[in-house]
């Protein structure tokens, strides 16, 4: 059975005159343990797709099966629990809490999981270590560079050992050297921990780290029309 199964996913933004169809009946399957790069020009619907896969947004129509579970039939709370226990999300804009230390940011998902204090701390420090931020735990976002903030965001996404990690242009705001570092981290997570990864990018250089590329064009897989 496929780990991720998308069937005829349609996403319409707005309504009436201003309605815009961002996804036009997408069908995608992803196997457990895959590292997939989602490519395509700007505005082709990549982020929309990633948000739906990450259970941050719902499709207008279609079906989404996550490990066999019909995601769109779940309640809000059940969807939240799905995110809490199985999904990690790395945003292009980081979305760290302001005036909050790196450690506390990484601890956040563990807190909601009810992980006890000591374990929480240890796991968070370990995750920070893994992304090369040993010694930066007590710095707030304002005291960190863009690359460091993105790495905090990655640490936050992986600290809870998700099954499925989504990254929406994780290197979009970083220079080449930092980007390569992030790619190496993601590759290692996929290889060593078996985390299934879907990474959105429009840079071919980054996409080549993935095992498979999916190309989007105008709200659907390229060539699907």
């Amino acid at each position: 059975m496929d780990f991720i199964k998308l069937r005829d996913i349609v996403k319409v933004y707005g309504s009436g005159e201003s309605a815009f169809m961002a996804l036009k009946g997408v069908n995608v399957d992803i196997e457990a343990g895959e590292f997939v790069a989602l490519m395509g020009p700007s505005g082709s619907g990549k982020s929309t797709m990633a948000n739906i896969l990450g259970c941050l947004d719902v499709a207008t129509s279609g079906k989404y099966y996550f490990n066999g579970v019909d995601v769109f039939s779940l309640s809000r709370n059940e969807t939240a629990l799905l995110r809490r226990h199985y999904i990690g999300f790395i945003f292009q804009g980081f979305n760290l809490l302001p005036r909050t230390t790196a450690l506390e940011n990484v601890e956040l998902p563990l807190l909601y999981r009810g992980v006890p204090r000591k374990t929480r701390r240890a796991k968070s420090l370990e995750a920070l270590d893994m992304v090369g931020l040993k010694g930066w735990a007590d710095h707030t976002s304002a005291q960190l560079s863009g690359g460091q903030q993105q790495r905090v965001a990655i640490a936050r996404a992986i600290a809870s050992n998700p099954l499925f990690l989504l990254a929406d242009e994780p290197t979009g705001n970083l220079d080449t050297k930092r980007s390569v570092e992030i790619m190496e981290i993601l590759t290692a997570l996929n290889r060593d921990m078996g985390i299934t990864i879907l990474m959105v990018t429009h840079e071919p250089d980054m996409a080549k780290y993935a095992g498979r590329e999916i190309h989007f064009l105008d709200g659907n897989l390229a060539g699907a029309q």
Partner: protein, 404 residues
């Protein structure tokens, strides 16, 4: 989950200390000003009431009329001893009838002199005015009858003329008369109109009429003060007095009185309705500051909505439940609001106490007002802290994160 929410709330307060402090400030100002204003208003009311009740209750003052004829002649007429006696004989609900005359004089002793109020009295004056002696004695019956050269002085006069030495037996010069001082009145302090009630020098009425303010007229009494028996109706006594005087003065029905009757009860009612208005007025000002405080709180909360909405988006994205986010925000708002409210109540207690002392009014702390002000501000704080959170937590995480 509750413990977690508490921890998250306190972390959040610590991180946004400025916002928390500003919110609390709004609540502190709101709660504080209401409490201070109301307690000062209540204190003033209390003070005025105290002073009026020091006048004595159930007292009727009979005064010459202050109104004038359209023709220009004064209708005012002072009273005769016969009129005072008639009132005493014929109105049965009276405890005491005190005819008196007053005049501003200069009293001298040794090198000192003081401007004061000379008043000629009868023995009933002590009953009506509620006066007691601090030193010495009242006048004797024979002194009243003979109009002897004796006087009793108030505390202020005693201080001005004797500077702490005993005034008993001293010879005080008033107008062209020298009198023996036989006693000192017990101090009454400030009167209802802010006057010094102890700035007086008393004489037997006959002495006053002969030596201080000599006149050939039989209408030589300025005023008659009457004390009504406890429980008797002062209105009823007043109308009896009116009838007696109209009868004795041959005033035809339809013609106006040539005297006036004032009832301290009426004065009390007038004054306390005025001070009640003062309290209401202060209350309104306080209400406005409560509102301003509330708007301040609202602004701070609303300004941070974007940031808070994004924060909520982040929390939802990492798997927080709607109710967990709400509980955290609720705890945060309640903590900030009640802390602000308690500080406001605490501060206002001492500020009102200090200001009451400064304005020399009694300190009256109204607990129910404190509670109302507290609940109101806390409600605003909680409402505007909680409402945006409620709205944000119902969004899809991605919409909360995108909020601009």
């Amino acid at each position: 989950m509750i413990l977690n929410a508490f921890m998250l709330a306190f972390r959040q307060i610590r991180r946004n200390l400025l916002r928390a402090v500003l919110t609390m400030l709004g609540i502190i100002i709101g709660v504080g000003s209401v409490i201070v204003m109301i307690s000062l208003g209540n204190g003033t009311t209390q003070m005025v009431k105290d002073q009026i009740s020091s006048l004595g209750s159930n007292i009727i003052m009979v005064l010459p009329s202050r109104s004038f004829d359209p023709g220009g002649g004064s209708r005012s007429r002072r009273f005769t001893q016969r009129e005072a006696d008639a009132i005493k004989d014929r109105v049965h609900s009276l405890k005491a009838v005190s005819p008196l005359s007053s005049k501003s004089v200069v009293a001298k002793f040794a090198q000192y002199n003081t401007q004061t109020q000379a008043t000629g009295i009868t023995s009933d004056y002590f009953i009506v005015g509620g006066w007691e002696m601090a030193q010495g004695r009242e006048f004797t019956d024979s002194e009243y009858r003979a109009g002897s050269n004796v006087c009793i002085i108030g505390e202020s006069v005693s201080k001005a003329l004797f500077k702490g030495a005993s005034p008993l037996g001293a010879k005080i010069k008033v107008a062209d008369m020298i009198c023996d001082s036989v006693g000192v009145l017990k101090s009454k302090g400030q009167g209802g109109m802010g006057n010094d009630q102890d700035d007086v020098i008393l004489f037997p009425l006959k002495t006053f009429q002969r030596g201080i303010s000599p006149t050939k007229s039989l209408n030589n009494i300025n005023m008659i003060m009457v004390s009504v028996e406890d429980g008797a109706d002062s209105k009823d006594a007043g109308s009896q007095i009116t009838n007696i005087l109209r009868d004795m003065r041959n005033i035809k029905s339809g013609d106006r009185d040539t005297f006036e009757i004032m009832d301290t009860k009426e004065i009390q009612e007038t004054v306390s309705s005025t001070t009640r208005m003062l309290t209401v007025f202060l209350g309104c000002i306080a209400g406005v500051s409560l509102l301003v405080g509330g708007i301040g709180i609202m602004n701070i909360m609303l300004v941070s909505v974007t940031e808070r909405t994004k924060e909520i988006g982040t929390r939802l994205a990492v798997g927080a439940l709607e109710k967990e986010v709400l509980l955290q925000f609720l705890i945060e708002s309640i903590t900030i609001s009640s802390l602000g409210g308690l500080i406001g109540i605490f501060l206002s207690f001492f500020i009102s106490m200090g200001m009451a002392k400064l304005m020399s009014v009694p300190f009256v702390y109204d607990v129910s007002i404190a509670v109302i002000a507290f609940i109101f501000s806390a409600f605003i704080g909680v409402f505007f802290g909680y409402l945006p959170a409620k709205r944000a937590s119902q969004l899809n995480p991605i919409d909360a994160l995108r909020h601009e």
